[in-house]
Amino acid sequence: MSTNAPPLFAAREPIFPRRVSGTFRRLKWIILILTLGIYYVTPWLRWDRGPNLPDQAVLVDLANRRFHFFWIEIWPHEFYFVAGLLIMAGLGLFLFTSALGRVWCGYACPQTVWSDLFMTVERWIEGDRNARIRLHKAPWSLRKWRLRLSKWAVWLVIAVATGGAWVFYFADAPTLARDLISLQAAPVAYATIGVLTATTFVFGGFMREQVCIYMCPWPRIQGAMMDPGTLTVGYRDWRGEPRGKGGVKRQQAAAGAIGSGDAVARYGAAVDKHADKNTAGTRQARSGEALGDCIDCHACVAVCPMGIDIREGQQMECITCALCIDACDDVMARIGRPRGLIDYLALDDEPPTAPGARAAVAGLAEAPSGEVAGAARPAWQPEPLWRHVFRPRTLFYTFAWAAIGMLLIFALFVRPEIDMTIAPIRNPTFVTLSDGAIRNAYDIRLRNKHGEARSFRLSLMPDSGLDLALEGASGSIAEVPADATRLVRVYVIADAQDPAAMQQRSDLRIWVEDTASGERAFGDTIFNGKDIADERRANES
């Protein structure tokens, strides 16, 4: 065994993302404000449901097993709504991933959003990339302590607010807030806040990209759901290579001089059509070698929150936050080249380049690029974006997603106002009474979702000839308290000579009527009688 075995563990390389502005950064700000706003504000929204029901718009009431969402109330037996929503979330992820790659990771994942917020605080207190690198390398001085402590303090405030907002979803927010401050709240509330504060602080402040790379399963799964037609953030190496800090003096395309020159010329032709700023041409190094558009300024690397170089091709670490696009577009504008050297692109859309350059772009080699390369398309131009977003695969996901959504909405609207289940007692299936009558028993669960008590009258079909009675009550009316469930033991009795008493099974319909509103619902079940024929056979033998 070698004494100089390579290290099996590596320390985290600190990342100092530079500030960037542009279209995607603006989009990310909007999504950040929107998602965080929804998260922090939602528990405080009120929704009047009447005197006996909570007035919190979104409330997960674990103790009473109720889920309130504005006008919708879900009870445990309706959990299939939640299951349906989870299936929709899964299909939605498939849809977005097949169309736009890891767009969830880049824009909406809480890990990304909170890390972004923490980085903003960091930049605000410690300065931009270069200042932070200097501070990182500096010895621990009073100033460094001051900056670090104030940064951690702000992070901690955000972390506490994050954990704090979470518990408000599970109890009446104003009451819980008062209890939390006066130290009257349940220990589990403090424990939850504590755990979420710690995870937010550590994951957003210190772990950041490590969570995505080493802890999260999504990068692997989402990578498997992408295909060559998926739009993702990538580097157009055929246009950028060979990179170099050459002269910015433009010359006419020297087609054939370099592997990518031809493509660059064609790209220029494409730009002719789409952009008024025609810059068809190429840069040249001082040595006279023709260069691609990449000036190797490392702007894309400096802004990357994951600390990778997008020019090396698609990588597991890339969360497709698109900040490198903003950074590169800015540089391209300054050197007078068309935007989009780094861009949202589909791998099967890109023209082929020299083998050496192509190898850097993983997956491109496998892409069916024959038609693109052929003479059939003399001037390369990317497919319009909608062609990548609307593909059979994404349409299928959209259809499945929408179908489940419609089903859930339909189920929501046809939910009965009177909710009951009938459970026949099967041990024993029937009881013979002293006058020979046959009695069956049923446990009927009546659910009252209203904010006031309701009375339900139970009855049978008028022509059934059977009698109905409730255990422990003289009439046939059961009262159910507000927002509660009541289990009622119901007896149905058939006279000895009734057909139902003399055959093994007969159908039975039990009606439930709200005595106040007159609303009715029924449930079908079975009445078990004595099987006379069977009994006779047994007696004869």
Binding site: T3, V431, D435
Partner: protein, 306 residues
């Protein structure tokens, strides 16, 4: 130091230097914090096994410094529940059972507790659904036919003292004598009469003869019309419920060699609260009878203090 390092030409990644038949392994180092997390779990594991029961020994396991046990936790939980139910339980032992239903909370508690008591102590004979076992002569407790009375106080008394129980002087007791001294034909005539009481198939001539025998030998307990007598536990012979079977053979067998049920007395084993709880549960199974208005509850109720 870097001399021994090998770089994989295809990926540009360093290899671990291990080679198995020419197959080499790329070195993708784990993050160091992962290693520390791993060490932390080991430390946690060691501390845990010191604090909590863990290591198997020859007999039992190490107890752990905190003295925790799941048994202890269950015991504490039971104690907590018992404590929170103590008030209900004490009022159950003193409440007038006839009006138990009026106190909804107490009644619900009694029925729930009674359900558990029944499942643990009564279901072995009477069945989990309280439907009885006809073949063995264990009565059905769901119907409206009661040998010794079906008010909640009657049921509580039966549970408390049992039936034909030799250890309890207050037990419900009666005995049906064997009518083996009768002629076989006389027993058959009596059986025909008994079947006629509830309109079962019978020989009218034999039944007419049996009516006389019944009046002479049976009516003192079962009543002139065979309606039974609950003070003696004598069954009603005119209804549709037959604990020992309604066939001619079954009745003949019961006449010659009567079988009578026994039941343990539960007052010492269950205690008054559980006796009352199980009475409330059985009373609510569909056959319970209301306590008559004119009967003063104190006269009917059996004083547990005696």
């Amino acid at each position: 130091m870097t001399d021994d390092r090998k770089i994989d030409p295809t990926t540009g990644t360093e290899t671990t230097g291990h080679s198995w038949d020419g197959i080499e392994e790329l070195n993708t180092p784990l993050p160091r914090w992962w290693l520390w997390t791993f060490y932390a779990t080991i430390v946690w594991g060691v501390i845990y096994t010191i604090l909590f029961p863990a290591w198997p020994m020859v007999s039992g396991a190490t107890a752990g410094l905190l003295g925790y046990s799941t048994r202890g936790e269950v015991a504490a939980e039971i104690e907590r529940v018992a404590l929170s139910n103590a008030e209900l339980e004490s009022s159950l032992t003193t409440v007038d059972l006839a009006v138990l239903r009026d106190n909804e909370a107490l009644h619900r508690y009694a029925v729930q507790a009674g359900r558990s008591v029944f499942a643990a102590n009564c279901s072995q004979c009477h069945g989990a659904g309280a439907g009885g076992v006809v073949a063995s002569g264990y009565p059905n407790l769901l119907d409206d036919d009661w040998l010794w009375g079906g008010t909640i106080d009657d049921i509580a008394y039966t549970v408390r003292h049992g039936i034909r129980n030799e250890e309890d002087p207050d037990t419900r007791f009666s005995e049906m004598p064997p009518f083996d001294w009768m002629e076989q034909s006389e027993r058959e005539a009596t059986a025909h009469f008994v079947r006629s009481l509830s309109d079962l198939d019978h020989d009218p001539a034999a039944a007419g003869e049996g009516a006389e025998l019944f009046a002479d030998n049976c009516s003192s307990c079962h009543g002139e019309n065979g309606l039974g007598d609950r003070t003696l536990g004598a069954p009603n012979l005119a209804d549709a419920i037959w604990l020992r079977g309604s066939s001619q053979e079954a009745i003949l067998s019961q006449l010659a060699t009567p079988r009578m049920g026994v039941m343990p007395s539960w007052q010492t084993r269950l205690g008054e609260a559980d006796v009352r709880a199980v009475a409330a549960y059985v009373h609510g199974l569909g056959g319970g009878e209301a306590t008559p208005e004119d009967t003063a509850p104190s006269a009917q109720a059996d004083d547990p203090a005696q």
